[in-house]
Symmetry: C2
């Protein structure tokens, strides 16, 4: 071998990165040989070894070979992956320090760690439940005050006949509350906008979204969502709970707050990406659980979005957190409702129980359900498409905070006006029958609570009475005496209560025209609202839209068929419609089915709901992606899907990897390290460590090098002082997760001449793949173990490339086969 | 390097294997250097290259180094791992044939595959549901006939006063039915004994248990379970459903039956371990779903037992199979019950709905529940310990089929006698009050069905009437007129119905003494029954024992406290007791919680059930393992747990791996291959393929080599005919899964001189790890990707060892730290 080997000086450039301009697109049809790319690549240049000409020739041949017959396509300009996102390191960095610590630890030590993990999960569940409880109570109380103010004024102004003054008062009040919420979001913490689910999806996928799990984000989120809901926007308070739970988890598990500069010196073992990501998934699950009273659904949500490797103990802890969360919410709400110990309100929203005997379904209804699923898919795709255009518009033109606040206020005002107008022009005056006394909404409420088998009393009643007297007085403005306006009922309830009425009210409560108009207006309002600079979720509006057209569907169905009892309950169709609409918008599958089943408390509906959600997903996916995925894509996040694209067996690690790679020697000059880290054009985060001749012997991260430089762990060869300052894992943990930038570390000229021994700190056994490995195989390894860097080696164990998240996320299945996204420094 | 390299002839021995005598136990304290083991190892000897002396020295040094300070212990003799089990290959064998096929396939091809996966899952669910339905109906009908016969005879004999004759008739009838079930199991298919859950756990874990997913096993299992239940043993019909579902899945997904010699030429793509194992997990989930009406529980069961890598599409398909299964069962049972379209019987067992208002629990009851969990853990551990001793006794003395049949008959007779005696000597005569008319059991039944909101009629009634008249006539034998014997109610109902009565009957139905005696006798009967050569499950007996002592606990609690309503419902405590007992015996956690929640239809009980199951597991694990794990261990199955033992960071791949390894050259002599495969002392299943000098270039399996030999894919160098016969993936699939043994393949002396080119067939990119990788890291890679062979390489990419399942399963955490099991050819 030695006789054919020839020393070739080659330059190396590493990952995770790859500047857009430098990367030659794979499918651009040019046959530019890889050799020239390797020899002309930018970045820091230093010799790390020899490369036999034979190898290079082989490479070129197989490169040409593998390009034969592939689809040729130039990627669309809008399709970009941003380089600003870093990855989480889910794989343990098994360097000597780590192994020594693990080996020192006794069996009891591991048991204690395990117990503290349980304690942390319990705390996460408890605090998430408390936050949910706080949001719920704050919304109730503030809405009560708002209605009080409005009612007094309406009474005053109605006497002088000024209906428009009532409208203006109503709109202004809503706008100003929403303004408050929008200001804190837009000016203080823009990441707190929206439901937060896309961000948490990314985090659980392994992408480090800046600022997403900070305390400040949590505070803004909670206050923001209260303002949005009280401000009467078409939003829900459920989605933000998932984000809140995740922030709580990230905070509690670290045992300190960097924002508050408090370190409780506990849970120090958990200060690394692996553990933190696990706890965040528990937090997200606890959030789902608190929002919908669906602990199992929460677990499945966390698994669906986050898990790569199935870890039974982790799943069990996630379930524990979920259970504690729903239990805490339940318990404190029962105290608030002056009925301590009554544990029948497991979530923020409760669909009310569907009794299997009263709303049974039959085999021949299943095709109808599937049809509704298809409608839901279509409407969901329309929703998503409109929201996509709107979001692009917003990114281009509404990016200044003050504009965002103004848009939010505008939406609030329009929402108030539209509902007012709708009520004014609707003729849907229903007689106040014996069961429709003046306490109509109260009656609805009572009916619901009786469904729950318990009539809860006192503190809710004044609010309900307020609500009813308000809406009844409004209704009676536009209706004759002894009648009420059902449009007013639909618009002036809280969305949660409206969903429940649509599910459970007696047949005949709603006029088809009312439902149709309501669906139409609410659809556009909700679509406009999602993406505003306010904290708010899209779950409840989706359910409400779906329940409305579902009920309409049921009513129409009953009217065109003559058969009686089985079609009689439109509530059933409202439920299916709600599922279809929500599925069409968010495209969640397994977890959503379980959430719906848990929220309805009826297992029998599992199959239809599943079929409906599947249909909605299939139909919707044909047109456009899910809402959350659209927003993730618009942020250019390198999101890894569950599997490599089906037709990607053409590609091998050789084509996918970033190369050449910036490698470090096992004992490296400090100056070289500082130069490499300071190179802003590449901004690499992981470096293979090699021994001559270019054999891989480890992998080290930028963050580790930063800590080493900060603590001046140098070997001064000149003074023959060969012992380095002893660093411990604690030093790395203390710096986690906000490592200082390289610019803040001063290295003197003398120090630059020192050497640094990386042996102790590098991960000595990084995972590797040969160059010929197919993309699906690389993808599977990467995804299953949650890797950040995967080293590609040749058959002599020499480093030839590095695969990172962006290299894998680039490939996706478009309309015309396999497509490649461009990577850009946005 | 060349100047220090010296040709060393070294012998190689590969895996998966490692004969017990040859393997030097790790902790035996001897410092025998690895060099001598490498040079003296048995097996086929051929030179594969050079090994530098430097490397060997290094190895010895670090070997000594890593043994320093480890606990020294000689493994217990009973702790063995058997070599007779092979592993499943969950990792795709990505050889050239496979990649070519994948590359040829269009996007539509992949879509069609995905659709056929869904179709297969639908079929699995449907057939599993049908089987559950068949078992249920067969049991009902046969039990009806049995009671008819007994009743007639009792009426006849009671007139002549011969009570003992009734007893004998009863015992003989039960024994002969059980005999039938035991004969088919013991003589025709011993693997069909028991619940089958341990076997399915092993299969999903990746161990190929012989004959476990064959059609014959299914037939014997179904007939066997019907006989066991009708024969009045203390067993349930739920456990075997999981096994049945798995067999259905393995059969349907392959599109052929080897037993029936029918090949439908469909689903050929699925004929490999990866796909088959996925479908089997769907089948197991469908089985759980049909048994308990718990589709989500089924999914979680499959994940808990089987999943390593979380695959969302797979999970979604599993859920689909579960849903279809419960729906099918529901639908056909509704037709059987002459009430088509009523979908309120989702499973074989139904606990009846717990209404949250009637049996609410309070915060201060939680410590009580946890206490019950601890009791359940203790009783479960006792149960398992007794059963463990019994099983060892059976392995030693009751291994002949006729003895097994006689034991089963004995148990049946004793069960009948004991229940008769218990009824006779119990004085628990309760007055037949206004609600206890002569139709007492019917009343129980009606009460239950009314709980379900629907009174189902006709075909059940005759059976119920039979039952009641029988038990009432019995009761009235030992009680005064106007009274009934509650012991008779407990013993003469089917176990499923008894569980429901314990959950839902009014307070005061059961006398504490009756419950205590019943618990005691049923505990020992169930313990004796599990492990007999009959198909039967342990779920229902466990629930029944637990429900009995749980209800007793509730009654005692109510009697010692004076406060009224909250303690009044002992049904709540029966539920908690049932969960505690079942958890204490089987030690399942997440899935069991969800199964219980789904079967009770009440989410509110989630937290207490979870806490109880956790407590039971913690307490039970302190004494002895779970029942299924005990039986797996007694079979010496190399079962891989979820994580490596906590304190195993001491070990690295170098100590764990099997070495030396039998390697093949890329172009190898046929004679050598035949010799290696014929070597019965090693019986290896995977061979690294190397090019000179010993560089790893691929991995090939025994089964692949067998197919190659069978099709005579030889290169005859003498005649310079260099083109091999073209083999296709189809040839491998046709041979799957029953590859012929090497002895059945005739290779002539001329052919032995031919060469074989393995390039096209070997997996060119096997996963590798360096020698220094720690055991937990090796374990994680192995488990996450479901590997069968993991090649250990040195830093020049030369093969130094092979890690297989047995190498990892050997290490476990015993009472005294890390222990190592011995590997034996049992």
């Amino acid at each position: 071998m030695a006789n054919i080997a020839k020393k070739v000086s080659w330059s190396s450039r590493a990952e995770e990165s790859g500047v857009a301009g430098e990367r030659t697109p794979l499918f651009n049809g040019s046959e530019q040989p890889r050799l020239s790319r390797q020899l002309s690549g930018g970045g820091s240049v230093f010799q790390i070894g020899r490369l036999s000409t034979v190898d290079l020739e082989e490479e070129i041949t197989s490169d040409e070979d593998s390009q034969r017959g592939r689809p040729k396509e130039i990627p669309h300009n809008e399709k970009l992956l941003s380089l600003k996102y870093e990855s989480l390191d889910y794989d343990n960095i098994e360097n000597q320090l780590f192994l020594e610590e693990e080996r020192r630890m006794s069996y009891m030590g591991f048991r204690c760690l395990e117990i503290s993990r349980w304690v942390v999960c319990g705390l996460i569940g408890f605090l998430t439940g408390l936050i949910a409880c706080f949001i719920d109570i704050a919304v109730e109380e503030l809405a009560g005050i708002k209605y009080q103010v409005v009612k007094q004024n309406i009474e005053k102004f109605t006497e002088v006949g000024g209906l428009s003054i009532s409208l203006i008062l109503w709109a202004v009040l809503n706008s100003s509350i929403v303004m408050l919420g929008a200001i804190i979001v837009a000016f203080f913490e823009p990441i707190a906008a929206g439901s937060g689910i896309p961000q948490i999806k990314c985090y659980l996928n392994g992408v480090k979204i800046p600022r997403v799990v900070r305390l400040k984000t949590l505070v803004v989120k909670v206050c923001g969502v209260i303002c949005s809901v009280v401000g009467g926007l078409a939003v829900g308070k459920e989605g933000p709970m998932i984000h809140s739970g995740a922030v709580v988890a990230a905070g509690v598990s670290q045992g300190r707050s960097t924002s508050l500069k408090r370190d409780f010196k506990i849970f120090e073992y958990f200060r690394r990406d692996t553990e933190k990501r696990d706890f965040v998934s528990a937090g997200a699950a606890a959030g789902v659980s608190a929002a919908f009273g669906a602990p199992v659904g929460g677990v499945l949500f966390a698994l669906e979005e986050g898990a790569s490797f199935w870890n039974q103990m982790l799943t069990w802890r996630i379930f524990f957190a979920s259970m504690i969360s729903t239990f805490t919410l339940n318990f404190f709400l029962s105290i608030y409702h002056k009925n301590p110990g009554d544990l029948s309100n497991p979530g923020l929203i409760n669909f009310g129980r569907f009794e299997s005997d009263s709303v049974a379904y039959n085999l021949y209804e299943i095709p109808l359900f599937i049809m509704m699923g298809a409608i839901g898919g279509l409407l969901g795709a329309l929703f998503n498409l409109l929201n996509y255009w709107l979001t692009i518009f917003r990114i281009r033109y509404v990016h200044r905070p003050c504009l965002q606040v103004m848009e939010a206020m505008l939406v609030a005002a329009v929402t108030a006006t539209v509902s007012f107008t709708m009520i004014y022009f609707s003729n849907d005056c229903q007689p106040l029958g014996p069961e429709h006394t003046e306490e109509y909404p109260l009656q609805v409420h009572t009916q619901y609570t009786q469904h729950e088998g318990r009539l809860f009393v006192s503190p809710l009643l004044p609010l309900v009475e307020l609500l009813l007297s308000f809406s009844v007085s409004l209704s009676q403005l536009f209706c004759a005496d002894g009648e009420y306006n059902s449009m007013a009922t639909a618009f002036f309830n809280t969305p949660e209560r409206s969903v429940r009425s649509l599910f459970h009210n007696q047949p005949g409560t709603y006029n088809p025209l009312t439902l149709g108009l309501f669906t139409l207006t609410y659809f556009f309002l909700a679509c406009w609202t999602y993406g505003l600079a306010v904290s708010a979720g899209v779950f409840i509006p989706s359910l409400l839209i779906g329940a409305a057209w579902g009920r309409l569907f049921g009513i129409l169905l009953a009217s065109i068929t003559s058969s009686g009892s089985i079609w009689a309950d439109p509530g059933k169709y409202a439920l299916i419609g709600a599922a279809a609409q929500l599925g069409g918008i968010v495209r969640m599958t397994l977890s959503l089915t379980v959430i719906m089943v848990e929220a309805t408390g009826n297992v029998t509906y599992g199959l239809p709901i599943m079929l409906v959600l599947m249909t909605a997903k299939i139909v919707g996916d044909y047109f456009v992606e899910g809402l959350y995925d659209i927003h993730i894509k618009l942020q250019s996040v390198p999101f890894l899907h569950l599997e490599a694209p089906a037709t990607s067996h053409w590609l091998t690690a050789r084509e996918v990897m970033g190369s050449p790679v910036t490698c470090l020697n096992r004992i490296e000059k400090v100056g070289t390290i500082v130069d490499i880290l300071s190179n802003t054009s590449t901004n690499h985060n992981g470096f293979p460590v090699v021994v001559q001749p270019a054999k891989l012997c480890g992998l080290i991260l930028r963050s580790q090098l930063i800590v080493l430089l900060k603590h001046k762990v140098f070997v001064e060869l000149a003074r023959s002082r060969l012992t380095q300052r002893k660093l411990q894992l604690k030093d790395f943990r203390d710096a986690y997760p906000r490592f200082p930038p390289i610019q803040s570390i001063h290295v003197s000229q003398d120090e630059r001449e020192c050497m640094m021994d990386l042996t102790e700190f590098m991960n000595a056994t990084p995972y590797t793949v040969p160059q010929e490995t197919s993309l699906p195989r690389v993808f599977k390894l990467f995804r299953a173990l949650g890797l950040r860097h995967l080293v590609v080696v040749d058959d002599e164990n020499r480093v030839v490339g590095l695969v990172t998240r962006k290299d894998l996320a680039r490939y996706h299945l478009g309309k015309h086969g396999l497509e490649e996204l461009q990577v850009a420094q946005t």
